[in-house]
Structures are given as C-alpha cells and as structure tokens.
C-alpha cells in the first residue's frame, strides 16, 4: 500500500541562502524507515496545519537521517516552514519520482544548464558525480535574476575548484540568459557536450533545448526536470497530469523526446 502519512522529522537548522531561499537541515526521527533517494528524487514535506509540498533532496539522508533541502519562500507551506524554529516537528514522505539518468551520463561530456532554484535538484547529482568520477567531465551554466538571487553560493564555490562554471545574470553585462553565453561556453569546452541536463524556468529549458536541437543535437541526449503542483506524489490525486502520465511517478525528470508528446503547451 502507498501511504500518505509522513514520517516524523525534526527541523535541525537552516541558513539563509539567496534573497528568498533558505537551506534547511532536517533529521528523520526513524532514518531506517525511508529508502535512500537517488540524485533528483524528491520528498513531500509537511508542516502540520499548513499542508504538504514537493522538494528535491539537495543531499540524501545520511546514517543519522540528516539531509538538506533548498526552499524558496513562495506560498503558504513555505511561509509556514520559514516561520519554524529549529527543533520543531515536520513530516517527510519519499523518495518519489524518477532520478537523473545516472547510468546514461557517467563518463560522458556533460553540460548542465540550470536557472534560479533549478540548481537545487542538481545539487545531489553534481556532488555525486564529483565524488564518483575519476575525471569529472562536467560544465555548469547557471543563470539567475540578480546576484542576490543566486542560490547555493558555497556549493558553487566548492564545485568551481573542480569544474568550470559559467554564471549569467539577467541584469548582468552578458544580456541575461544561459543562451546568451552559450557560444562562449561551447567554445571553451575541449570536447563537445554529449549529454545535456536542464533544470529551471520552463522558458529557459525550452530555448536551451531548441538551441541545441537546431544544431542537430539528439533529443534523446537531453533531460529536463519539470515543475508541477502535487498533492500526493503517488499518482493518485491527478494534479500533476501530463496527458496519460503523472509527473510525480513517471517524471518529474524526463528525456526530451519522451516529454514532447506529453506537452500540449510548449514548456
């Protein structure tokens, strides 16, 4: 049976991240009751009295059940979460959804394009690749509205010691989107990208994918993580529908060619 009842967890600590995000440290009270999430999988976080919403594990729970999530203050649930003090109880269900396609991207030239909070679902993956790859072949392009909106600053500084990172700001000199600096990014890569991962605002993912598709890059080598409203995460409530699929169980990470027939709109 698929339970909709969360496991108890404790809010251990948080630190301010960007202008409107916080990085939360959470501990599961009974860590062995949850199976280990893969990079890209998400949990449902409950604040008692204020409902439940989906967040990707920024780090997976360790042996003590301690993990992290990045949260942007937007909507009732997150406001309630931001109002909590360390030590207070919350609920966690998961892990849910499809992970990043690890098997298909290891040892490949990888280009990751992220925007805004879309870096959070990639946090666990990037750390995982940097730890497990002998020679990480990874380039990150990260776009944000302003420097105050850039998330995960300490992580990016740490990663930058091992991999090239290209930052672009909407209000910056380069004109704003990851696309505007893409020619330079590609030029700087010794080997051309073989796989591309996208996570961020839908318009950003759309124009990025189209840019590479127009140059003959195969749609089967692009993955995107989409955002949906979710009430159950187990394929029952109906809210996250994409045609005959439910993003909570069939996604939210989709290969580009498999995503297209599910979209009536352009994402």
């Amino acid at each position: 049976m698929d339970s909709m009842t969360p496991l108890a967890a404790e809010l251990l600590h948080y630190r301010e991240d960007s202008a409107d995000t916080r990085y939360f440290k959470i501990r599961l009270i009974a860590p062995n009751k949850m199976s280990a999430p893969q990079p890209g999988q998400f949990c449902m976080l409950s604040v008692p009295g204020h409902g439940e919403a989906a967040f990707t594990f920024a780090t997976a729970p360790d042996k003590q059940g301690v993990f992290h999530i990045l949260v942007r203050a937007i909507g009732e649930l997150t406001y309630a979460l931001f109002a909590l003090k360390p030590g207070q109880r919350i609920g966690i269900r998961g892990p849910f959804g499809k992970a990043w396609p690890l098997a298909e991207i290891v040892d490949q030239q990888l280009l990751i394009i992220a925007g805004g909070c879309g870096l959070a679902p990639l946090n666990g993956l990037i750390d995982h690749l940097l730890k497990t790859h002998r020679k990480p072949q990874l380039t990150l392009v990260y776009g944000a509205r302003t420097s105050a909106h850039q998330v995960l600053n300490s992580q990016r500084q740490r990663w930058n010691k091992q991999i090239p990172i290209f930052d672009v700001l909407e209000d910056g000199p380069d004109g704003g989107t990851p696309l505007s600096i893409m020619p330079n990014v590609i030029k700087s890569m010794v080997d051309k990208p073989e796989k591309i991962l996208l996570c961020g605002p839908e318009a950003m993912m759309q124009i990025s994918a189209l840019y590479f598709l127009a140059q003959g890059f195969p749609a089967t080598s692009i993955w995107a993580a989409i955002e949906c409203r979710m009430h159950c995460a187990i394929g029952l409530c109906g809210h996250c529908y994409l045609e005959q699929q439910y993003a909570c169980t069939d996604g939210p990470i989709y290969r580009w060619d498999q995503l297209q027939p599910l979209l009536r709109r352009s994402i």
Binding site: P6, A8, G49, I74, T78, E227, L236, G238, H239
Partner: protein, 373 residues
Amino acid sequence: MNVYHLDSPQRLYQHLAQDYQMYHVVESNGDSVWQKSTHNGVDYEKSDLKINRLPLMSPKSLFFSEQENLFYFDGECFRETLPQPEPFALFAVPSCDLHAIAYQDQFFSKDPYYQARRQQALLVGLDCLTPCSNGFCPTVNAGPGVSPDITDLTLHREATNLWMLIINNERGDNAIKTLALTTADKYSYRRRDQRIESCKKQFKHDEAITAGVAAINKNAVSDAEWQALAKRCLSCSGCTNVCPTCSCFATRDLDTEETDNPSGIVRQRIWDSCLYESFQREASQHNPSAEAGERVRRFWYHKFSNQFAAQFGRYGCIGCGRCEQTCPGTIGVHSVMHAIGDNSLGTNNVEKNSLGNNKKPTGIQGKQSLTYG
C-alpha cells in the same frame, strides 16, 4: 458459477442483512439515492425491486469518500487513520456502476483508505432490461447485462415474481450459503442472455459517441474547438462529482477545533475537479492548464483516450450519461461528443460558429426520468 432461481429479491436482501450493513437505492423527493439501510432489511419490504432509477450519484463515495481523514499529528508523530467499516453490501448495482467500481479498484489498488472499505464490500449486481434515459453502456462495453468478473452476485428478473441469482465467486458463494434456493437450468441462463441482447437493441445507436472518441484519439479536435466548448463550462465540478470514474482529490489540513478529532491536526483529502481553474496552478502562479478549453479537453481525454484505455483495459467512461444529466452548461457527454464527433466528419465547425447554433438535438437528453431495470 452457480445459477439459482429466487422468488423475491427481498428474501435475498433480508438474508444478507444478517451479516452485512445493507445499502440500496431509495426514492426521495423525486430523486433516487444510495442509502444505508437503517432497519437492516425491514425497510426493504416490497417483494419486487423498488428501485427503477439510476441515481444521479453513483456509489463511488462509499469507497472513495468525498471527504476523509488521512492522518492526525499528535505533536510528535503522524498517525494514519484508516477507515474500519463493518462488512457491507451494495444491493442491486447496475452494470455501468460495477464497471466503474472495477475501474477504481485498479486505480486505487494501492490506496489503503479505498481498499479498507472495498475489502469489506459485497457487490450485488442487477441486469438492466430496459435502457435508461441517458445511458449508452453498450457503446462503451459496460452493460446493460452484468458480466461475472465485476460483481460477487448478480440479480436478474426473469418474470414478475421470478428472479435469477448468479453466484460469480467465492465471496458471493459464502454470502448465500445458508439461503434456500433452487438451481436454475441452462435454458434459464440462455433466456437471460436473450433478454439482455434485446435490451441492447433498444438503445439508440449512438454514432456520435463513437465519432467523438475517434476524433479525440486522432487528435482531430483543435484547441479553438475545445475553447468554444469550454465557454459552456461553469467550472462547477458537477460532472466530476457525479462521474463514477473521476478520482481527483486535494488535501487540506484542519486544526483540532475544525474537526472531530481531538488528538491533533488532521489532514483530509477531499474530491477535487480537473475543471477548476486552479487545479494545476503552482505556488509560483504558473498554470499549465489556465485555459478552460485545455481543461475540458483533459476531462474528455481522460475518459476516452486509447492511452488510458491501454492502462485500464477499458475506457474511463462507463456510459452512464450522468454528466449530461447534471451539467447546467451542456458540456455533458452527449453534447460534447456530438460537437466534436460531427466536426471530425467535416459536417460541423465549432471554430467558426457558436456552439449553440451547431448543437444538434440528441433526442436522449432532457428531463426524462432515468429509469432502468
């Protein structure tokens, strides 16, 4: 499968009432509704089946509750609150609704709340022998005769005071073990088939439904056509409430003073509707189905797409016609299928003309009573 003669359904009802909380259809103020028997059998007195209407509300809520508690939070932990019903029986369910229950059984197969109720339920089906007024069960392979795989027991009216009782499985067999019955011969059973066949023939051949289903699956209905249809949708959730296969829900948290649970904060789930504007709206206000036409398309795609049919072994519509009956804006099944089906044949164009001018009379709508049985 065993087949018996039965002198009166009432005798069966009273027998089952010894072990099951009974539910049956009663007429009240001109409507017919599923109701819990309060006197366990004695209120079901007529020797003939009294029900002769398809109730506007199917028995869906007896399994997938309109509003139910999922768990409560006691300040430390989250405690699941599963329903614990006594064994209950649904008496005289028509084939369409049994197909809907079988559909929901698949959809909610891993849902502990649904299953806690479903596993306590005995289903007694009833063959329809005359078409109901809005139904088109033969078109979607959901009636009017009850197939043995979707019910425990089946009732069939042979003559005024003669009934047939078909035992379809072990649960049904256990339920009638101590009831005295005479075995029916195979000719009686064949005559049942004939009666069902002749009922099928009385249904108006509804090409519009078939054409509408084809149009949906050929992707032949343009966004503008859906948008034109959607102008008639009041987003009232009437169709999703009455539809026996609709299953969308939302969740909400209630404080102790708002609920009957003194132990803490409660999370409930409540029926939701994909036709509400906010159904997919995200916290960021981004809304992938902000267009009403997109939401109406979604509803009918869910009912009639071959993609869903492949997952469930049948269409999500069981042909009861309740959406047509209830819709104040006439975007029920007959109206919609006529509009998009005609269009796919090239005889209609919703895009250019207002739907009202193009809507053809279907002849099976209106205020006629929903008789069946």
